[in-house]
């Protein structure tokens, strides 16, 4: 029984890993090597990658993606901590109402808000600017809820002691409490960063100018437009470059990735 289980598990693991290995190998192969099941590239060359960089500003898109994802994640952490703290540790009129609004927001299908949000971007003059990629994502309900839950679990004595020392609420949140809930901070960072890094639909709607595009958008347009000339190897090379940064992060933080995603799945 036991060997059979390991055989099945190994087959399954290969089903999920091998396609990525194949991708890398195919991207380094000549067009002729694309149709075979290989581990190593056939007729190894970096021509596909050269072609990608010749035809689209992928380096620029990488920097755009990085800037948007890092900056927005920072804002999500800031706003989430402030709102989550107020909801968890302060009593004020309307607190419960705000909590229910957050739950409502989370269950609201984005299909309803997509078009009006695009119109807001047009009216604000944010089309083709980083603002359109950052501001709508600068706060999210899940991070507020996760912060609220984490702050609620901390002892009141921690806050009281800080108050006696004359700390204001912002100092209490960011200097005293945050160091005690780092796992939550990491969870929110991973979920937000990954979501932003992989987001393709919203950029496709609000960005038309190539210089402001993020990687998923640029790779998508490259892939569906004529610029890859139907060359599969070139498309696959672009896809490898898009996947690489997040896979590298995953190699370092895989347990945290899994735990974070699982905890967000459980919330729904």
């Amino acid at each position: 029984m036991k060997p059979l289980r390991y055989i099945l598990l190994t087959v399954a693991a290969l089903t999920f890993i091998y396609p990525f290995v194949w991708m890398v190998s195919a991207s380094l192969s000549s067009e002729a090597g694309l149709g075979s099941l290989t581990l190593l590239p056939i007729g190894a060359s970096i021509q596909n990658y050269m072609t990608v960089f010749e035809r689209i500003p992928l380096g620029r898109a990488f920097l755009n993606s990085l800037f948007v994802a890092v900056f927005t994640t920072g804002l999500v952490l800031l706003s989430g901590a402030m709102v989550g703290y107020a909801l968890a540790r302060m009593t004020f009129r309307g607190r419960d109402a705000i909590f229910y609004l957050i739950i409502f927001t989370m269950t609201l299908p984005f299909q309803i808000t997509l078009i009006p949000n695009y119109i807001t971007m047009v009216k604000l003059g944010w089309v083709d600017s980083y603002l359109a990629l950052i501001v709508p994502f600068a706060l999210n309900s899940l991070s507020v809820l996760l912060f609220r839950q984490a702050f609620a679990g901390l002892p009141q004595a921690l806050i009281d002691a800080a108050r006696i020392d004359g700390a204001n609420e912002l100092r209490i949140i960011f200097q005293i409490l945050i160091p005690n809930i780092l796992p939550t901070v990491l969870t929110i960072t991973i979920l937000t960063f990954m979501g932003l890094w992989n987001e393709a639909l919203w950029p496709l709607i609000v960005i038309r100018d190539e210089a402001t595009m993020t990687m998923p958008q640029l790779v998508t347009l490259f892939s569906v437009g004529g610029r890859a000339d139907g060359q599969l190897g070139v498309k696959i090379a672009a896809a490898v470059l898009l996947a690489l940064p997040i896979i590298i992060l995953y190699l370092f933080f895989q347990k945290h990735f899994i735990r974070s995603m699982a905890s967000s799945g459980m919330k729904d």
């Binding site: 990525f20 009593t91 808000t113 078009i115 507020v144 639909l201 998508t220 899994i258």
Partner: protein
Amino acid sequence: MKRLTPYLLVSPYLLHFLVFVAFPVGFSVVLTFHDWNIISPMKWVGLANYGRVFRDREFWQAVWNTLRFLVVHIPLQIAIALFLAELLNRTIRGAAFFRAAFFLPVIVSGVVVTILWQQLYSFNSGLLNRGLVGLGLGRVGWLDDPDVAMYSIAVMATWKNVGLYVILFLVGLQSVPEQYYEAADLEGATTWQKFRYITLPIINPTLFTVVVLSTIGGFSLFIEPYIMTEGGPLNSTLSAVMYIYKQAFQYYHMGYSATLGFCFALIILLVVIVQRRYVEKEV
């Protein structure tokens, strides 16, 4: 000042809510009663947009496509995720490695996964068809046959997401006390009985989560058909979001596409309510 502090702290949320939730929801209601291309003034059309939704064959095609997607995607996802979770549940050595492997496609962009599978599914040079030809069988139009294409996308989506559900099921399975199974063994219960009467009731909430998340995912499908098939062949992979996108950004029918958004959201809600009743009654 002290009394104002909490309001200052929640002000980012309130501002964000007003601009990106309350306003768009309100405005989309207004939009559904208008004809508007963003540039010229809005034109009041009453309920005409809603009437049009009912007669719009492409809208119903998109709903039908999503249901066809879900009919394959949900059972496949549950079966594979449960099977792998069950295998992992009694595995100690290497469990972390297998978990990490199953999870790999979950973290990668849908764009990457789609480009990868587009090659696997390719009619002439794809690995799948080469395999079939090698076995002496005929080629399948994975993305070229209107009767097949949506199911191909459903299989790809399962491959991408199943790792997450393995983890969720695993959490559920690990909360089943070992004594339950031991007691069942003493009573001479079969494997199926143990699964049906011990495991299933405990993982039922997870089952519901998987069903709901997959349903929402099905109605959110966009980038996969956008890259792979552009909704074709013969609109057989046109998804709900793709159709909203098409109406808004190819034809500039803002009023109509807002109406579509509303109707799709309503359908999601209905489907989830039906699923909730069914899944809860089942166990």
